[in-house]
Assembly symmetry: D2
Homo-oligomer: 137 residues x 4
């Protein structure tokens, strides 16, 4: 079973638009909260990455929206580590309305391992080895 | 040649993050500005859609990030009408740094035709017919 | 002692800017989360307001920034009900870094009581009476 | 007559909320666009400030909302240089709906002169002298 981490948030008013539902770009912010939670849960908070000079810019994102989220809904983002490669890693996300487990959206992000200037890093230590271990659990 | 519309904006400070480049969710806001410009250019401003009870919620989005955008860059979003189906339409986007035409990102959004409550609408008039005409030009 | 409610959140990456700290507009989103929590805590969730046709648009905001918030900080927003008038109410906010109670910012928002079209409402029931009771506790 | 600069933008969909009008935090993003335009117009683009190690974090903001802005409105932000002090400067803003000059909001921001680490700078060259000259025009 793939490793995952859950993050719960309450939809703020500012995330809605005049359609009365959450504006689509906000899900990407939620994916990022999910990734942050994943990294923390498995002992490598993303703040440590940047402190050690390893950055994780997004190179690709996808999202499918199934059912709208609304103001004041409790939302749960389940984040899965999908793949680790020498120069990149990718996550998958599933977004649920927490009250009734209604499936709202699913997404994917792929990230490069980079230094502060955006230059690719190969298998950055110690994070790469740790991620490989996690995948093998 | 597919129909397209261009929209230019200057990257605001608030769109950057601590990596010193534009945060990835902002591109989805730019895609929306591109769609708005496309609809206006071809004689059917999106405000008119909603006035007539036709809404266009996003059901899918994809974006590939090639090169970062930075604060104060002039950015050009080229929006293309990709496909029109009875219940949906889709757009493609290409994002450039306007000063030197550096290719920054490309994206895709798919939208359902819906009423205010989110129920699917089939070939909503007069927009569907107009879109089909545009595609045949 | 004035009534208050606390709300804690973790600073997301997207809230930072290239100065490496939280972009100033995000505090207004946090104030709103604080107000939402206040209303819920005292038995009148803001979703109920809108369901009953009472809206609370912001007519004034102020914020003083004392110390920057950073990515991954746990932030606590303390929200105080400041004043209730026939046509308006106002809140005060204090923002702290939760780990060491460092005082980060303080703010104020004033809101009109309005109907859906933005027309002012006088002492909207049942919320106005409830707010007055709260203030007298 | 005080120096000013105007900036025009079209309200994006993502700036609205479920009240059907622009969410209040967006005005702070617009103020920043106004400041950027002001600095550029008077020959000292803010990108140059940061290149020379001078940062301008916001220490105070105020906004009064008079009339709502809506999706697709053309908005004009007039930015005025209000005051320059050894360690700070402040701006005022007036926001109009461009089509009919309807007055929508007015605001104020105060900024410290700081280095990259947030330490106050006194009369940072060459910007401070230039600002003083501008005020005396």
């Amino acid at each position: 079973m793939p490793l995952s981490a859950s993050f719960v948030l309450r939809v703020p008013y500012g995330a809605t638009d005049q359609m009365g539902v959450v504006y689509y770009a906000n899900y990407l912010n939620w994916f990022e909260m999910g990734r942050t939670e994943f990294c923390r849960k498995y002992g490598m908070p993303y703040v440590n990455w940047e402190e050690k000079g390893v950055f994780m810019p997004v190179v690709e994102v996808r999202c499918r929206y199934k059912h709208p989220a609304r103001y004041d809904d409790l939302i749960r983002i389940d984040t899965y580590l999908k793949e680790v490669k020498p120069y990149s890693l990718s996550f998958e996300f599933k977004v649920y309305r927490d009250s009734d487990d209604m499936f709202l959206a699913e997404g994917f992000t792929k990230h490069g391992f980079c230094d502060k200037r955006g230059k690719l890093l190969k298998k950055p230590k110690p994070f790469y080895d740790k991620l490989i271990c996690l995948l093998q659990q």
